[in-house]
Amino acid sequence: MIEISGLSKHYGETLALDKVDLTINDGECVVLIGPSGCGKSSLLRSINRMIDIDEGKIIVAGKEIASYPPQELRRKIGYCIQNVGLFPHYTVYENIAVVPRLEKWDETRIKERVEFLMNLTGLPLSYLTKKPHELSGGEAQRVGVCRALAADPDILLMDEPFGAVDPMTRIKIQLAFKNIQKELKKTVVFVTHDVEEAILLADKLVVMQEGKILGYDVPEAFAKHMEEDFVRLFLGEDYPVKLLKRHGVDDYLKQDGDSATTLHEILGRLLKSETGVVEVTDTQNKIHEIRFEDLTRYLREGERR
């Protein structure tokens, strides 16, 4: 658990963080979103003491962060940023092994861990001996994620980690990361300015502006925050439509299936259909009809959940 209370940070005259309170539960992926300069990166970077805070308290794993030696704290927390920052003189293996080596793990354990992470992120083991300049942008990002996860930290800080790759690769990595998170259940603090990325990955969403938190909730519940002008402007009037991407047909039918169809696609089919009805089959081969009203109702329910 990360408990942040009364956190303020100044850069000269400008106030980057203004008495921020935020509690992040274990195993949740919390996405900080907002326009540039809203303080989301400062909030993230204050958690592993990459920046010093002026006021307030941050408690990580029951202890205030100021009471940890900074290096020890940082090794407990995975870190992954936009430009990856892989060490160009290290091989992929050595890059991933950085923190375990700092923590003085024995080499067989490191090797096991590295290979586990390579499999997890879908990188071939033959890449272990490559240098970063031989990797594509997407591959480098995956290695970056591996490196952040290397010493099995409970907390993961990610600052626009997929911001610099092309859209196709980006979606692939996002989905891969979602699966990894499902499996590992880390406490993730994720910064982005991309609403769709936030909707896809977030267990909870934090919308920030000018150093303040405007809303902190599950993405489904954000419709009720939409009365606030800024939130509506930033998330967009089409936010509910984007939200449909989070939910598969299986969620809608409350079943444990393996369909890849999202409600977003169902909406697309509805818009094209002349009858205003789309039919889907469930795992028992029963046919269900979905209408516009059903989607509206489903989103309302999500809000209450």
Partner: protein
């Protein structure tokens, strides 16, 4: 006209001009006597001279009209020519002159040099590395006693021991002074990076030595060193005095600082900030960041600085000859004072060769480190 044709035309002109009109060397009955010019015809003889001219015209025609046709063969022929002509030239004996064969000598003249400039121009379209083979070939012939009458060889034979001693001394001075500058150079570069306020002072300091003429620095160095040696005579016994090895070493050392300092600084500065941020964020201590990440990534740049320092030092060490520091400069300045141009050449050629060899050696080292690190110092990292 295409550039290729211009070089061919210039090459043809130079070779023909040298063969017909220019002196290829001078015959001197002793070291300082006025020389008797030797035209190409003089040492080749009528028959060979005529054949040469006809052959040359034929070859020029081939190059002009069939550029690629005989090139491979031609370059080998031209490669053997200089050695061959040097041997013939050194066998030249003038008519009607009394001379002592042990003292008389032949110096190379303008015709020889221009002829081979012309040849290089004519060959500019073929592969070039043959020049190295050619040089080695000439050296081997010279050392095996095939052109003893050449002034250059004669000077060398006269002072063989001195030559080798000064050569060792030259290399020692140049290399050790640059090596001594490596630790302080790197430290200064790091300090300039670490403390931005000190940067201007540091760069001002190392620039002074680079901008000040080497010669005046040498003179400046003599005064405090002489004073020092007078005040503490035991220092003089250790070799620290106004003339000789010490001032030359110190000046060369100071001279080497700038390239090493500047390259260290530039290398540190160029390191991708994202890489350094990650090193810190992953939990490295400041010392670990420097040792494991920052410094290794700066190595190629530092090597480039050391390479510059070493090669420039080889040339600058010539000036050590002026303050009794020895080296090739001792031969060159002696040759200049005696108007013995062969001796000057004997001092100069090794300096050029040494600089070229050193540069090549360091290029290899630099490339190896760059390849090993997988990172270059002036190319930006590919981090999309």
């Amino acid at each position: 006209m295409k550039p290729g044709r211009i070089t061919t035309a210039a090459g043809s002109f130079l070779t023909l001009f040298a063969l017909t009109l220019l002196p290829w060397g001078e015959f001197k009955i002793n070291r300082v006597a006025r020389g008797i010019p030797i035209p190409a015809m003089g040492f080749l003889g009528w028959a060979m001279w005529t054949t040469s001219i006809v052959a040359l015209l034929f070859i020029i025609a081939l190059i002009r009209f069939r550029p690629r046709f005989f090139n491979a063969v031609l370059s080998w022929v031209f490669l053997l020519l200089p050695s061959f002509s040097l041997i013939l030239l050194s066998r030249f004996i003038p008519d009607g002159v009394d001379f002592d064969p042990k003292v008389a000598r032949i110096s190379l003249g303008i015709g020889f040099y221009l002829f081979y400039v012309g040849i290089l121009l004519l060959l500019s379209k073929t592969k070039q590395p043959k020049l190295k083979i050619f040089l080695s070939f000439v050296f081997i012939l010279a050392f095996t006693g095939n052109m003893d009458a050449l002034g250059l060889v004669r000077e060398y034979r006269n002072i063989e021991e001195t030559f080798l001693r000064e050569l060792t001394r030259h290399l020692t001075l140049a290399l050790f002074s640059a090596m001594a500058a490596i630790p302080p150079g790197i430290s200064l570069g790091y300090l300039a990076m670490r403390y931005p306020k000190a940067r201007e002072w540091i760069f001002g300091f190392v620039h002074v030595f680079q901008v000040a003429p080497t010669l005046s620095l040498l003179a400046l160095m003599m005064i405090p060193l002489t004073a020092l040696a007078k005040a503490f005579p035991f220092l003089a016994d250790l070799g620290i005095k106004g003339i000789g090895f010490a001032p030359a070493f110190i000046v060369l050392f100071l001279y080497s600082l700038l390239p090493i300092t500047a390259n260290t600084y530039a290398g540190l500065k160029q390191t991708d900030p994202a890489v350094l941020e990650n090193a810190v964020a992953l939990g490295m201590s400041p010392k670990q960041v420097l040792r494991k990440v920052w410094f290794p990534l700066t190595l190629p740049s530092i090597f480039a600085g050391i390479r510059t320092a070493m090669t420039q030092n080889v040339g600058n060490t010539i000036l050590a000859g002026l303050v009794g520091g020895g080296g090739m400069g001792a031969l060159i300045f002696l040759g200049l004072s005696q108007s013995a141009l062969d001796l000057v050449l004997l001092g100069t050629i090794p300096v050029v060769v040494m600089a070229l060899i050193l540069d090549a050696v360091f290029e290899v080292i630099e490339e190896t480190t760059v390849r090993k690190l997988g990172v270059d110092y002036d190319r930006n990292l590919r981090l999309e």
